[in-house]
Amino acid sequence: MSSAPQLTSQSATKGYIDCDNTQQPTSGRVPLVLNMHSFGEVTHQVCRVAENKPPFAWYVAFVISLSMVGFLGVCVTYLIFTGVGVWGLNNPVMWAYDITNFVFWVGIGHAGTLISAILFLFRQKWRTGINRFAEAMTIFAVICAGLFPGIHVGRVWLAYWLFPIPNSMDMWPQFRSPLLWDVFAVGTYFTVSTVFWYVGMIPDLATLRDRAKGKFQQFAYGLAAIGWRGSMRHWHRYEVAYLLLAALATPLVLSVHSVVSFDFAVSQVPGWHTTIFPPYFVAGAIFSGFAMVVSLAVPARQLFGLKDLITLRHLDNMNKIILLTGCMVGYAYSMEFFIAWYSGAMYEKFAFVNRAFGQYWWAYWIMVSCNVITPQLFWFKAVRTSIPLMFILSIFVNVGMWFERFVIIVTSLANDFLPSSWGDFIPTWVDIGTMVGAFGLFGVLFLLFCRYLPMIAIAEVKSVMPEANPHAHHASPHTDHAPAAEGSR
């Protein structure tokens, strides 16, 4: 451990005080794995989560989440059997919680692929500690997101008309519609994210397979690992494919929320019809996505004893990104106002003034305080490295980002062109139930993931450990033989 900085001696798995590895050491590399000295320990640390009985808290969380899913089932069944009127929607507010939740979850679904793909391309090694479950979070969030456009349509049973399937009516989707772009963008995003996630997980599934004790586990993990043997010839293509996937996922991740923002930007509703939306939405998505990662990572590392792998440095880095994207979002908010004023367009101007001072002023100011004001605390390192504070702030950001979507959708629709048709939106219990239920669905999926799948990219973490360097000038203390292998380059 040549480069370990001023570490405390406490083991993160036992104590509550985190090792501070956030300082850039004057020499050497930043340790991204603490208190572990061998590959085997990393393997064990991650796999034991899946192999042992989960902590009690897991069961509590699971039961709560499951009952929320049950309620979601009730709400959705009621919705589908009765009609979307069970939501508080009306003319003019034809979209409200449904699309708010959709955009919210799509936004959450951005951090995973972003961490995986963009940080991978930028060679940010700290991604390895968090990418796996950030990706999982992405997929589950996209599932939650996909639920809403699916159930929000008036005739769910005909939603397959959104796909260009040859049919006896000779009818096709209408490809000028941003909603159809959504179908393709979110569908592609979900598919590619899942593929990316799964491809990344294959070696780790093989690890689980090889460690599995029970026959069923051996079968199940064996099936999932599709016979991965760690062959270097496979690794070669694997790495190329992974790089390609990262390179493809990067524009994809930027495109998805751009396309989601087109749902609004392409329309002519004042407050929606804005060219700033694509970058603004992407920044917001990253913002909320990272906040969600923090919200999940903080309890997860605590619960499953992964503090040595998800270290304060990881969290600190994420908080910095939250701060950065929070500022971008704040810039976007002010820019919207400026452009609305500068445009001189009556309806546009009104839409924004009305957001801040009209009937939904409270939603607007919740949004501003949660998304712009409170994240400013992350300028302070003490806040960035304080587990409770960052947890609270990340929850704030999630709340704020939900309200951002609510503000954009509902305030714009409620007061658009003709004052005669102004309206307001009052949610019903089904609205709230569906929203809460989606969180439950997310929770169930995430808890199952934590329980049964490798939460941390074992192989990748190993590859960023100092021991993984075949050209290192030090010998591993665990090897009695140190061939001075010369690198080819």
Binding site: S168, M169, Q218, F219
Partner: protein
């Protein structure tokens, strides 16, 4: 303790599993495209009618014109199903005691209408107008087939939207002079040259619409 190991034959099985996986979406599309099509489901529907009225005999052998019974076909949207009265125009003279006509006679005497089983049914949201077609050179046979050869009437055409559009997009092969509208045996493809058919299209100003509002209101 022995481990679970996949047997060797699973390796041979896998390609098939993968191919099946790849085909599934294609199959689903095929299922929607063909399996759910009226072409598959509805063509050939041949319900039993309360009275064994034979179009083959009345139209094919006796040469009744379609419009003798379906009187409103060239005037209104609906080709009216004839009232019992129409049957009795002849059957008070002919086959007065045929047991097959018992129900007709009952209806005539009681005034209670006959309940025929519908063969050609469009969904309620599709508004087809017979008069607009028969006055513009689209013969009965195009949609109803050779009714003059049907002992019991069956569904000849799918009557699906795609099928309607086929003709609306390419009417050339389906027009005929109005004089031959009800002549089911007359085939415009053998009787007329494409040029002649084209001139018919001009004559009737046939400009079949693909507008939604043409059929859906």
């Amino acid at each position: 303790m022995s481990r679970f190991l996949f047997p060797r034959w699973t390796n041979a099985l896998l390609p098939f599993v993968l191919i099946a996986g790849a085909i599934t979406p294609l199959y689903a599309a095929f299922f929607v495209a063909y399996g759910l099509s009226p072409k598959t489901l509805d063509v050939g529907y041949q319900p039993v009618q309360p009275v064994p009225y034979s179009h083959a005999r009345h139209v094919g052998k006796l040469g009744l014109d379609c419009r003798y019974c379906h009187t409103t076909v060239d005037r209104t949207a609906f080709a009216a199903v004839p009232p019992t009265q129409t049957c009795m125009n002849c059957h008070t003279q002919i086959q007065r005691d045929s047991p097959k006509l018992e129900k007709i006679r009952q209806s005539y005497e009681s005034g209670m209408p006959m309940e025929w089983v519908k063969v050609h049914k469009l969904p309620d949201f599709a508004y087809f107008n017979h008069s607009a077609h028969v006055n513009r050179g689209v013969g009965c046979v195009e949609c109803h087939g050779r009714v003059d050869q049907m002992e019991v009437v069956y569904r000849f055409a799918p009557l699906s939207m795609g099928w309607c559009l086929e003709c609306h997009r390419e009417p050339l092969d389906r027009v005929r002079p109005i004089s031959q509208i009800t002549n089911l045996a007359w085939d415009q493809k053998t009787e007329l040259t494409p040029e002649e058919r084209d001139s018919l299209i001009k004559l009737y100003h046939i400009n079949p619409s693909e507008n939604c509002s043409t059929c859906h209101r």
